[in-house]
Symmetry: C2
Subunit: 275 residues, 2 copies
């Protein structure tokens, strides 16, 4: 399968910054070091855009601000350099005609390069996203939170857990090479299993940092055989590395540098560095 425009952009951004690190933009008004969300996001982006392969704005934190949040998201997206991948993290998913409207919102109105999508409504809810063949679609598979076990780990009649069924169907649905999966860094065993099932697909791996995920295992088990396409996301541990308005951006840069270095050490130890 030829690489989709989405995969090309992802692979190029990773190579250019020698990085599998994604920074999640979850601007929580109660925690940001400066009063203005846009000022905060722009400072974070300026401090980290040479270190990351992607930014992942979390739509909830913008929606919680009403109209101001909408305008803040617009200004934030404008500030992201065009060579860096943008992932709209909204976990949308609905019947076909509604998913088509969500895909339009995320890909055409906002202009995201990729989006996270919930699989619970099945194929016709995912297809309108995948139909944007130049865009990436990360299906929730095994999430990083405690409640991930409530449904995703349930064993089906064939003896396999539900999340593996999601991974298998994502593989089937991936006719344009633009599908990906979300598997939490807190679940290394499941991550390794999903990578076995989908050897080439990009996997978005949240849960490093505040959620306590295992960085070393995430890189080792989440990457492809040649050490790529594991997108390691950190949000709060970078954004809130310091609450001091004078140095939060420097602290974020330092935290991001350490994460990139940690990731690259694992890759190098396996002979899969960026050379």
């Amino acid at each position: 399968m030829a690489n989709s425009a989405f995969l090309n952009k992802l692979d190029s951004a990773c190579r250019a910054n020698r990085s599998l690190l994604c920074v999640g933009l979850d601007p929580d008004l109660g925690r940001v070091a400066v009063a203005d969300i846009v000022e905060f996001n722009l400072a974070i982006i300026e401090a980290t855009s040479d270190i990351v392969c992607a930014y992942k704005p979390n739509l909830a934190f913008f929606e919680a601000l009403g109209l101001d949040g909408f305008l803040a998201l617009e200004a934030t997206l404008k500030a992201i350099p065009p060579n860096i991948l943008t992932i709209g993290d909204g976990k949308r998913g609905d019947i076909g005609s509604t998913s088509a409207a969500y895909a339009k919102a995320l890909f055409n109105v906002w202009g995201f390069d990729a989006a996270t999508v919930s699989p619970y409504l099945g194929h016709d809810s995912v297809e309108p996203f995948l139909a944007h063949k130049d865009k990436g679609v990360f299906l929730l598979c095994r999430t990083s939170n405690p409640g991930g076990r409530d449904f995703q780990d349930l064993t089906l009649l064939d003896g396999n857990p539900l999340f593996e069924h999601v991974a298998n169907l994502a593989g089937e649905w991936n006719v344009a090479g633009n599908a990906g999966l979300v598997v939490g860094a807190t679940r290394p065993e499941e991550l390794g299993r999903v990578r076995e099932l989908c050897p080439d697909m990009p996997i978005l791996i949240p849960g490093i940092g505040a959620q306590g995920g295992d960085l070393e295992a995430s890189v080792r088990l989440g990457a492809t055989a040649d050490g790529r396409r594991a997108i390691i996301n950190a949000s709060r541990s970078v954004l809130y590395a310091s609450s001091d308005p004078k140095d939060f951006a420097d602290a974020a840069r330092q935290a991001a540098l350490e994460l990139r270095e940690g990731i690259n050490q694992v890759l190098e130890s396996e002979g899969k560095g960026w050379s």
Copy 2:
């Protein structure tokens, strides 16, 4: 369990308008009879607000319009009479801290009385919505679309389908009496089963009209023993009953009147009318 403020509002709205009908507001720019979405929605609301128990704005169709959509949703919500239930249909759901931000957006920023929530991430993703005890939380259980079978119908080791597990957990999680479920009108058998499992919970039942759901079976199998708490949603069949700018509102009223009458005939035939 005492009724939650959400259930009281739902029950009052149903009684006042002698109606289990909800009109879904899915303003599709390609289909609305007039060029302005707000003008369209306000005309639909004016024409139907004495016939329905609830309106269900579908967030996707507003988000697909960018900033204009945001302002249109604001104006639409202002026009809904305060005694009618508003359901924010966004099918959100994420890890706890993010779900808390979505709940804030839906319940505090927008002021919806209820919201639809995807269960795939489990308890800690649903709890921040349920923590708004005066608001309703409709968990997706068995959806109306063809892809509903891809995951929701999968048989678990205990021999029961996944959607029944969702219904059972919704019952467990419903400590404040503000949980509900979504079951499609296209799946009468599953609807009946869910009603058995959750005898008192409100069930939002989309899929009447354009999706071909069975009205009679939905009312008979979806309502509680006393003929209540089945919220029968129709969207496109009401909104687009006529594409003529001169009579679309009259046509929508006529379509809504016929649906309410059809629902009430079923209730009366079972001795559960409004008298």
